[in-house]
Symmetry: C2
Subunit: 282 residues, 2 copies
Amino acid sequence: MIVGIVGLGLIGGSLGLELRSQSITVLGVSRREETCEIALERGIVDQASTSLSLLAAVDVIFICTPLDKIRETVEQLIPYLQTSAIITDVGSAKGIIVEECAPLWQNFVGGHPMAGTERSGIEAAERGLFKDAAYVLTPTERTPTEAVQAIEAILRSLGANIHHCTPAIHDRAVAWISHLPVIISAGLIESCLGETDPNILELAQELASSGFRDTSRVGGGDPHLGAMMAQYNHQALLRSLFQYRQHLDHLIKQIEQENWDSLEKCLEKTQKRRSHFGNFSR
Amino acid sequence: MIVGIVGLGLIGGSLGLELRSQSITVLGVSRREETCEIALERGIVDQASTSLSLLAAVDVIFICTPLDKIRETVEQLIPYLQTSAIITDVGSAKGIIVEECAPLWQNFVGGHPMAGTERSGIEAAERGLFKDAAYVLTPTERTPTEAVQAIEAILRSLGANIHHCTPAIHDRAVAWISHLPVIISAGLIESCLGETDPNILELAQELASSGFRDTSRVGGGDPHLGAMMAQYNHQALLRSLFQYRQHLDHLIKQIEQENWDSLEKCLEKTQKRRSHFGNFSR
């Protein structure tokens, strides 16, 4: 099997490292010549190019570009590909992507690995990134079963935990646990910066420690990626944001009314049920 | 010098370990007999008791109890103490505490170490907890200079970075970086739990990874401590919450209006300026 990867960043690069360790031939495409060179040096790919024409003979292509480049990548790939080739992507929103790409290519399977580190770019690529990580596939009724099975076989070889759902269900779920936190967290940083008393702002900046660090982390992430996830998942994100605002208002009301028992009960619930999310204990 | 510590949890216990390593005599008081035994076994204190009468001869007392026990501890200590004894506390809110305690005891110095780990209790006590950590003192105009200097000398020996400010400035600053994040983060967990479609909630729980973990961490903390910090700092917390809600509304508006450039500019600002907070780079 020959696998093509478009976009050699953290996800694309890590995928290349894994697949090559399984003796699969990996062909990589990056917009930047320098990234191609690093990919070859690090053994992430067998061959690299800045041209999609490199991928003419591949069986499966992972599009690992940012969200706003997925559709155009599919369009630009089409002239080169065999009709049997399977395309999948790794974008963090699926509704718009599947809606745009599935009509362009029969064997398109939407995908989203819940794998990441705080680092990005090809330098951050690493083995084991997908091991035990959730990986969502969002085939539609029209997606050929064989295409889905081919992607699944690759994902199983990476050790990923495969989930299936519709693009809409995916988008609503990740809005809660991935996209809403970005906006909440950015709002925290923004509102602190809005403090008009310079003495208070300066002291706040000096005193900030682990609580602020963790709560503000995703709001301090890549601005373009953040704006794109909002753009590509704005309906589900808005739905979550409106519901979040209601819960926030309820918490504010308890504090305004000095209803400490009720606030403590809310915090008991959040403490107890936080452990239902993900595979982390704290 | 003899130092007394009331409340042998993470902060009180860590303080005892540090001070004893400097050959200072440390007397510890805990409500629980079992905690006294652990404190003795671990070398956190020279003597331990469940009775405040143990502290009759000490020079300096650190009250390391929860916020709602500080005032009553001062009241209960008074009959035993020499008038020269200095009392300080480690509560995370200072306005109400100083207002309540300073009139009770002349040599009272409000304090707040910005030191903590995710663990709590005497088992979590460790050397080095205060090293390079911010430690805020909030003396008032009436606090004797000698009392402040005596506390400062101890804090310097711990390697802490000492800050001075009024109780009000302290409370507004920590509302931003410590108390607001708890409510924001609890609201995130609560609103996710409010998802009414069980398929989406289940998938969200399965997919939750580092972004959710970090943003939800402080909202999943000790419920009683959370409710107390809200109670003891509710004015500054509400002030921050109202401003946060305005910034959140502004972010929501940009998403509703599909104004992605403007959203990206906001996120550029939060990314760039997050590094002004604390001594962490990410």
